[in-house]
Amino acid sequence: MSTPAAPLWIRPERIKELSLVGVIAVALVIFGFLVDDYYSGQFFNRITTSVVITAVLAVAQTMVVVTRNIDLSVGSIVGVSAYLTGQYAAAHPDASPVLAVGLALGIGALLGAVNGLLVAYGRVPAIIVTLGTLAIYRSWLVSHAEARTITADSLPSWVVDLPTRTVVSVGSLDVRAVFFVVVVIVALLAAGMQRLRWGRRLYAIGSNPEAAAQAGLPTRRLVFGAFVACGALSGLAGFLFLARFGTITVVAGQGLELDSVAAAVVGGVSVLGGSGTLVGALLGAVLIDVLDQSLVRVPQVSEFWRNAILGALILAAVIADVAIGRRFRRRWSAEARPHTKVTEDEPADPAPALEASDA
């Protein structure tokens, strides 16, 4: 390829993010042809209300995945947090909202800390730990709930009204309060991941755990912290889940771990760690949500196609990632070398596997 040398600011993750925006735009255009009256204010409002849960979970997952770990327990954390917070809010209708949200965050952080402890200090691989706690947290919830369901009418009105509360309206487009808050949280975390020391260190660990430890980074504490943060955000997602649905059964949030990993991977986050942005993960969540909300309205297909499309999307995203990476990575790392700062596009592994072929 004789492309002119790409300036350093067009980094691989920017290209990934931009191409994802392109994919979302294409999806919106296609659905616009298939669905009558697709572009309505109502549709925008529905997407922005529903995307917050997937978005928070995608961002939570990304913070763990960039450290070369994974958290499969987020769906169960959402369930536990939603149920317990709902129970608390129903029992104390006059309690301050701050307390309820704090409770949701605290429950999530606690469960995340259990994961982090076992991964960072027990040295059990994250996939094992969180596959186990996925089952443990859920089974605890089932025995705790004893088949009781939290119902919307038992909740204080501020919880139930939260999803429709609006900050500003532009015509028929409402900017929901939850959407606004989540965007602010994601923006702050994204800035922290890109600019602050702890953020760069998380990437450094994911790029090369041994090198990060050799360089004196407190790798265990950072990985532990990433799991706590992931848990706390999942707890917040549990609260959003409670507010959105009102009715919480013991299966609340089941399967959301798959959506969170899917959103992160589609958003360009590498499961090998060290690469991917929160903005990418957010866009991945938006794409998944657009699919979710649109497929049910397309007469030619049904919502039963949802998972098959999502699976294909993940595969397409990772294959495209490899293809883009192969072409550009060498140039970027060559340009980045004069700088001594940690870059996140260092190949985690010089990828001999790319040439994997039978001798």
Binding site: I128, T133, V322, A359
Partner: protein, 321 residues
């Protein structure tokens, strides 16, 4: 006299735990040691058990296959949809198995050719093949299979031994021989230990991976068909969450999640432990949901304990030095 290794120690420990579980269960429930109960143990879990055997190869090879439970459902739904469409039943079974093998071949090709982590590829498979099952049957349930087929899941084959138990015993012995006594099996270990070294040694790394993922999905497909025979009907949501038990069996068996080590004997013992544990908890009226929590804890603890054991001799050696 073979060398006393870490694997032997772990197998011995598993054998002790297995005997302990059996003795404890027997003391708690009078029906526990009945042949019927024992046979039931396998009949009710054959699907998970045969997949755990092939999963051992995949994990020893340094990979993981998260898609197995979805492929089971996919296979069962292909069977159901084909039968519903009027395809003769034996042909429907063949279709289900071919579809499963193709699913594994696809995943294996992507993993071997692009070097993308099997975790992501099979996660896409986990979501995607469950989705394919859902496209095929939507929210319907297909049943009324021929009698000979549903009998396969219930009737005894040799004396009191059901088809499931015979199948498991044959399969685990063959798998053990292939893993520990053939060049292919050695290749699986070497790749899991260090894929680069394996490649430079002339081992067909890519081909081995494709073979393993194809076989893994094929076995999952067989498991899906057996599950259909036992249940008598199929839906798109069957076998959801089976990954947990299957991966627990393999890792409890002492197989390293990083690849390169593990024994089929260990996995066979671990299968015995998991089945006896679930069965014993069931007889003690512990809910299925709580059992799942116990299995989750067992998964974490088994790896945690192996980590601790690995560090002990190192400490001693350091102290001596």
């Amino acid at each position: 006299m073979p060398e006393w290794t870490r694997e032997r120690t772990w197998e011995l420990l598993l054998a002790v735990i297995l005997v302990g579980t059996v003795v404890y269960n027997a003391s708690r429930s009078p029906v526990y040691l009945d042949v019927d109960n024992f046979v039931n143990l396998f009949r009710l879990s054959i699907e998970k058990v045969i997949v755990a055997v092939i999963m051992t190869f995949v994990i020893v090879n340094g990979e993981i296959d998260l898609s197995v439970a979805s492929v089971m459902a996919f296979s069962a739904c292909v069977l159901g949809a084909a039968y519903e469409a009027g395809v003769p039943f034996p042909l429907a079974i063949v279709l289900a198995l071919v579809a499963s093998a193709a699913a594994g071949f696809l995943q294996g090709q992507v993993i071997a050719r692009t070097g993308i982590s099997s975790l992501v590829v099979t996660l896409a498979g986990l979501i995607g093949f469950r989705g394919a099952a859902r496209i095929l049957l939507e929210d319907r349930s297909v049943g009324a299979f021929p009698e000979w087929f549903t009998d396969l899941g219930r009737e005894d084959l040799l004396g009191p031994l059901p088809f499931a138990l015979v199948l498991f015993l044959v399969f685990v012995v063959v798998a053990g021989v292939v893993l520990h006594r053939t060049a292919f099996g050695r290749g699986v270990f070497v790749i899991g230990d260090n894929a680069d070294v394996a490649r430079y040694s002339g081992i067909a790394v890519a081909r081995t991976k494709v073979v393993l993922f194809t076989t893994s999905a094929l076995v999952a497909g067989v498991a899906g068909v057996l599950f259909a025979a036992r249940l008598g009907s199929v839906r798109a949501n069957i076998a959801e969450g089976f990954e947990l038990d299957i991966i627990t069996m393999v890792l409890l068996g002492g197989v390293s999640i990083f690849g390169g080590s593990g024994t089929m004997l260990g996995v066979a013992l671990a299968i015995g432990i998991v089945l006896n544990l679930r069965n014993g908890l069931g007889l003690a009226n512990v809910e299925a949901n709580t059992q799942t929590g116990v299995i989750g804890a067992l998964l974490i603890v088994s790896v945690l304990v192996q980590n601790l054991l690995d560090r002990l001799p190192l400490r001693r050696r350091e102290a001596e030095a």
